[in-house]
Amino acid sequence: MFLRVPLFYWVVFFLYPLLAIVGLSFLSEGQLDFTAFQRIISRAYYRERLLFTFGQAALSTLLTLLLALPAAQVMATYDFRGKTVLLALATLPFVLPTVVVAAAFKALLGDLGLVNRWLMHVLPLTEHPLPFERSLALILVTHVFYNYAIALHILSGYWRTQSMRVEEAARSLGCSPWRLWLQVRLPLLRPALFSAAALIFVFCFTSFGVVLLLGDVQHATLEVAIYRQVNIDLPTAAALSLTQSGLLFLLVWLHSRWSQADLHTPALQSSTSRTRPPQNTLEKIWLRTHVAIATVLVGAPLLALGWRSLSHAAGPLTPEHYINLTQIHQGSLLFVSPLTTIANSLRFALITTCFAVILGTMAAYWLAQRRKKRRRFPHLQHALFMMPLTTSAVTLGFGFTVVFASASTPEWFRALRGSVILIPILHTLVAFPFVLRCVYPALKAIAPSLREAAATLGAAPAQRWFRLELPLLSHGLFIGAIFAFVLSLGEFGASIFVIRPQQPTLPIAIFRLLSQPQPANFGMALALSVILLAICAAAFASLNLLRNSAPGEIRW
């Protein structure tokens, strides 16, 4: 009974808001009502949003794969100095909060960005020459930055399982380098390409923070449209959200089908390690080009972010933006000093981590117990718990808005609105499945004989848990806790719907500051982004320390 708490949590905070969205989309004063959907279909604006959402996702996916495909070949084929560092660096974007990434690209290519300021200084000009801000190009580049690492990992990982012999055989049969790509490499890679493409498409399809910060009214995805509709027309927003969720569900389903069908077909295993140093000048140039692209793509925005947070454009370095963070500015969009938002975020993240660790562990035990008793639908509950992960953050946050706005909502739920734990509750929806994912395999791996051995050695049930199970789960728990912490720190899409103005989190503060054109606000936003980035990077670095130590178990 006790272990069912995660299920109740899931029903109350995930299912109920989701059903509230469905209700709001189809019902008006208790009657079936399709006007919200009719509005969506009839208005050109919404049709354009749908097209834009698909279009930008498709373009982002295509660009990412075009860049990542040769890089994956380089990673899977060659040995070179700094490869490990480069791979680690390329993974970094994946764990960065969306607002930090958006801020980094504004710092690099925006109107106030490093490149524009530098060109103005050198040429010299009075206006910024590159009109990237609020353009599709900036959104696309940012998406490429985000998903490059995912594509690289999936493709080069799959590539390594392919036998070198096949390529050698093709070459011995007279295959030229171009035909080798077209007739051997690409066909062999097709399953991995499909899987990576589907995954990247899903991520770009649900892109919210990046598009909200870098786009405008014309450059807005469905998610941004939902956000903009909330204060204007709630039923339309609900219908949009439902449409978006339906499409997303379809995409996720397609992705899981593709990746299951093809990625697991046994590839030809290479007998020896296939990486080698580049052998001739051409290979060296090819290798260096892609190392340079990867380094610039990942490094430039982050360096620009750091540099611009410490400078006024092209001037000398100054800590002014960081000093500004300690003050409450007159007429500021934030009601508090920006530093307070760091404290808010850390507090929310810590509470989220506690919630997620407790709920995730309980869910893992509950699932393990049901499995042992051979209950029906062993995978169903698991899949249910994972659903918040495949639901867009905007839908999660919007669901709460709808519930709060509904007259039939129970009083205790409404009371959450002013509560400190509202944000952690929302973040936990996404964070606890992560903990579950980390803890459940570790729990299943504990052989029953270990518990029995501890019992026969005199350990009481509580001692068995503390001295045996907890140490064996600790690895997974720690990884899950770090994930929960970082997820909560960077969470933006759901929080923005329910956050109280006087208690902004770091990402919300960055968003508000970035939305203002004044250079002072811009500088503070960048400084806050650097701080958020540093906290996230430090949390993930702690995982790397752990990876090689300790016996046991979870490798990730």
Binding site: A447, E452, T456
Partner: protein
């Protein structure tokens, strides 16, 4: 049971255990004294591990009684029974090193740190693993793991030690060496132990008493030599490699008639066992010998194992190899049966 006798050190009686629909134990009984090693021997799936788990408190029997030093064990939870259990897969804790594994039970007993360290060191010395104290258990060989597991279960000085096929996962050479060591260690510690195995060679080497189990029941408990010499039922006889089991056709007084002749017996047995060791074999005819034709001949090193047909009955017997030529299939062979090796058998369970 005679009320005058003192109660045995450990006793299990009438143990019944179900796993869902399957009956794992149906009224198993066994007992042993302090300092004795009892071996539960039987084919796999006969319920010997289940009986061990009931004794350890890891399974709750549907019926039966368990007493240790006169105390009823059934209501006592596993961790308070003071019964050590050594698992077939060793169940070493992967997050602890060798010494920490051995120390686990001592910690649970709330001994002082000094006492814990002393007894851990002693236990490791006993099994010859002192040099491995700080080693990660994942890096041990099978034999080493087995020693650590033994040290771990010995260290808290349990009243009763249970060993569940402790050599099952080791290779034959390591097994032969360790079985002698285990017997020595258990006796040196003055422990009562129950040892589960399906290997009769292992059982002979280690046990003071062997209980042969089949289908959830203990069929016969005896000293190893008596069990081998005088099994009481066809199952036990066959389990120890005996094949010459004859049905009793008719019985008049103490004379029982079988296909192979009439033998003097005690009681009213349904079957007679002609023990292989009691069949004298010769290729030369002699007085009162029964002639037969050899059906198969297998060279076994110091003897030929023969199966020959006498009066429509197949008899298994041995011909010492050192003073004869190889017997041929189809050849005539002569056997004489030692009346002392004709053993009456009751029906199985």
């Amino acid at each position: 049971m005679n009320a005058q006798l003192p109660a045995p050190f450990f006793q299990a009686s009438g143990i019944v255990l179900h796993y869902g629909e399957t009956v794992a134990l149906q009224g198993s009984e066994c007992s042993l004294e302090r300092g004795q090693i009892l071996c539960l021997l039987g084919p796999s799936g006969c319920g010997k591990t289940s009986l061990l788990r009931v004794i350890a408190g890891l399974e709750r029997p549907a019926a039966g009684q368990l007493t240790l030093q006169g105390q009823n064990l059934l209501p006592v939870p596993t961790h308070q029974r003071g019964i050590g259990l050594m698992f077939q897969d060793f169940a070493l804790f992967p997050h602890l090193n060798v010494a920490e594994n051995v120390r686990f039970g001592l910690k649970m007993a709330d001994l002082t740190r000094r006492e814990q360290e002393k007894r851990t060191a002693e236990a490791l010395t006993q099994v010859g693993m002192s040099a491995f104290a700080k080693r990660d258990v994942a890096h041990l060989s099978g034999g080493e793991k087995q020693r650590v597991a033994l040290a771990r279960s010995l260290a808290p000085q349990p009243k009763l030690l249970l060993l569940d096929e402790p050599l099952g996962s080791l290779d034959a050479n390591t097994r032969e060496q360790l079985v002698v060591e285990i017997r020595h260690l258990i006796h040196a510690a003055g422990l009562a132990a129950i040892y589960v195995t399906h290997d009769r060679g292992e059982a002979f080497a280690i046990a003071d008493q062997i209980a042969v189990m089949n289908a959830g029941k203990i069929l016969q408990t005896d000293e190893p030599a008596r069990l081998y010499r005088a099994p009481r039922s066809p199952f036990v006889a066959r389990f120890f490699g005996q094949e010459n089991i004859l049905a009793v056709l008719t019985q008049e007084g103490d004379r029982a008639r079988t296909e192979l002749g009439t033998f003097k017996v005690r009681g009213q047995p349904n079957h007679l066992l002609i023990h292989t060791d009691g069949v004298e074999t010769s290729l030369i005819p002699s007085n009162r010998a029964i002639a037969g034709l050899i059906r198969s001949s297998t060279y076994r090193g110091n003897h030929y194992e023969l199966r020959s047909v006498h009066h429509d009955t197949v008899v298994k017997h041995a011909l010492a190899a050192h003073h004869t030529r190889a017997p041929q299939v189809g050849e005539t062979v002569y056997i004489r049966i030692d009346p002392a090796c004709v053993i009456p058998l009751a029906d199985d369970g």
